[in-house]
Amino acid sequence: MLGAIFRDALKNLSSNMLRSGLTMLGVIIGVASVIAMMAIVEGGQVWLVKSIEQLGSNLLFVWKKRLTIEEKRLFAGRNLQLRYDDALAIRNRFPNLKVAPIIDIDSQLKTGERDYSGRMTGTSPEYSEIRNFHPASGRFLQTSDIQTWNRSVVLGKTIAEVLFGTQSPIGKEVKIFLGARKIQKKSDGTNGEKKEPQRVGEYRFTVIGVMEPKGEIYGQDRDQMIFIPVTTALRFFKGNDKIGSIVIHVPDRNHMEEVTQNLKQFLIQRHDGVDDIHIRNQGEFLGTIDKTISTFRYVLGGIAIVALLVGGIGIMNIMLVTVTERTREIGLRKAIGAKRQDILLLFLIESTTISVIGGCLGIVLGIFAAYGFGDLVAQSMPGGGDWGAVIQPTAIVIAFVFAVAVGIGFGLFPAIKASKLDPAEALRYQ
């Protein structure tokens, strides 16, 4: 009996291919968009987590809080700010942690004809290990560089290419001066001879290494980084001992919380009891990203589900038309002995068949769309090379089940309407 009804449904659908196809299209697009959206969001998450992990694992980031004017006034005279001393003290107090102070300086680099403006990072040898970022040729900073505040510089891959082209930069000289500081003219006023403007704070550095290519991670192109010893940066370019942040590697991931607490206490103590620093760990970053991704998942998934619902309304619409068109047939079937549930099933199986076939085609289209979009992202986004679509079986199952539910749900009303038709009236419907 069910088999016969199913054959009837297929026959009716195939007898009006264009209409069935168009109705199905709604479901196909709905299912495909659910799968594609999910796959893209999932791919984005995988990519971001991977990116974060590439920054180096088990990391703590320490930086100073921005104090309000009141707080500044209140704490005036106390030992505030994050200083190079803090980094050294942490290193002494917690010998099992790897500690790297970080100070960012806007700078200009010049070699003969070519020059480059960008941000330079003063740090210590630990940085390379902590951030899992190593030199491709030459070497990274060494303890002796820090101790002697010598003028060594390690270049990112892109910068090495900009300044030296295909030549090896190792051992070559680079002039570095502050990028942000304005160059002042001599102001002796009258009758001044026109001289080359004196560059303030220009120093000759020797290139000791070129970093491996690493690409963009989390908004920062690591191939455009420049490293000099932190002591050199403070002495030649800053004139004080304030540093921007400290990055710390904790050997055991399970002790992150504990270490964070200890560090916090230690630093507050050093800062005369004022809590003027933030400490965040990578887990928190990942948590934030996870939340963001979840929001995306719900928003995009919601849009896709709406598309699927619209497809369902399409099914209902066309089934209502079909019921009206086939009123006389319904009357005849009832006259010769079709029960209400026979008629109900006849139409319900038809709408379900639309959604099942549409769902299957939608899965195929969704997989293609997801990979197509993944490729698009990979090509168009700098550093997005690893962002591929990740299709999870659960997404496919959810999309398919939802599509079938939509077919049944939206097919139910027309089917009930058909099953309740009065046979005498239906038979003579014009």
Partner: protein, 237 residues
């Protein structure tokens, strides 16, 4: 023994504020094996009577006994079962399903009677052979002439060996020759003991029946019987 017994049947249709009395205290008995023609002008209540006899709609009041069933007391699904097993319908417009073959159309009532597929096919083939369409079984309705389509409809009506064959203007859409062929089949069925109730507005066709009931304004105006129905009338036209 009476197959059909109608007592004080009223049927009132209400459309909006206007109530139309389609059947007015109608009493009627039809015995097993009779070939009855119901005649009347349009609006006389013929179609309403057919709907009630065919269990397609219920009377507003009155009692209807078919065989041993008290029809006006039955539920919707019981009526459906009666339509399936006890009644065979033949319509003026044939009412064949266009996407099904002749064989599949005849199988339909058997399918709803939950007969197995092989039995459906055997019975349908037997019936189509009986109405002379043994070489048209796989044809679709649009490949058949009007007369052939009506013969398929007769085969379908007979599928579950109904107690009552109800025909609503069965020759209304046919030329006289095809119509005559259909009526000849009715004659044969009648001789085999099949009870037939046929609605027509044509008195000449009504002559083929052995009893003619004339309706007017929802009442029985005349009820006459002939022992031997006059055969050759149609052929003279």
């Amino acid at each position: 023994m009476m197959l059909i017994s109608l007592r004080h049947i009223n049927k009132i249709y209400t459309t909006g504020e206007v109530a139309v009395q389609a059947l007015d205290d109608l009493n009627l008995e039809i015995a097993q094996g009779e070939f009855v023609a119901i005649i009347g002008q349009s609006g006389s209540g013929k179609t309403t009577l057919l709907d009630i006899l065919g269990c397609l709609s219920q009377p507003t009041s009155g009692d209807y006994w078919l065989h041993e069933s008290h029809v006006n007391k039955l539920s919707d699904s019981e009526l459906t079962a009666i339509r399936n097993r006890q009644i065979g319908f033949i319509f003026q417009t044939f009412h064949l399903l266009p996407r099904k073959t002749a064989l599949e159309n005849v199988q339909l009532p058997l399918m709803y009677a939950r007969v197995t597929r092989t039995q459906q096919q055997d019975r349908a083939q037997e019936l189509l052979t009986r109405v002379g369409l043994h070489n048209r079984m796989q044809h679709h309705p649009n490949q058949l002439s009007g007369g052939q389509q009506q013969r398929v409809a007769i085969a379908r009506a007979l599928a579950n060996q109904p107690a009552l064959l109800l025909a609503d203007e069965p020759t209304g859409n046919l030329d006289s020759q095809s119509g005559n062929e259909i009526l000849t089949i009715f004659d044969e069925l009648h001789h085999q003991g099949q009870t037939i109730v046929m609605i027509t507005h044509d008195p000449l066709i009504a002559q083929r029946a052995n009893r003619r009931i004339t309706l007017l304004d929802g009442r029985v105006l005349a009820d006459e019987s002939t022992e031997s129905p006059t055969q050759p009338i149609l052929q003279e036209i």
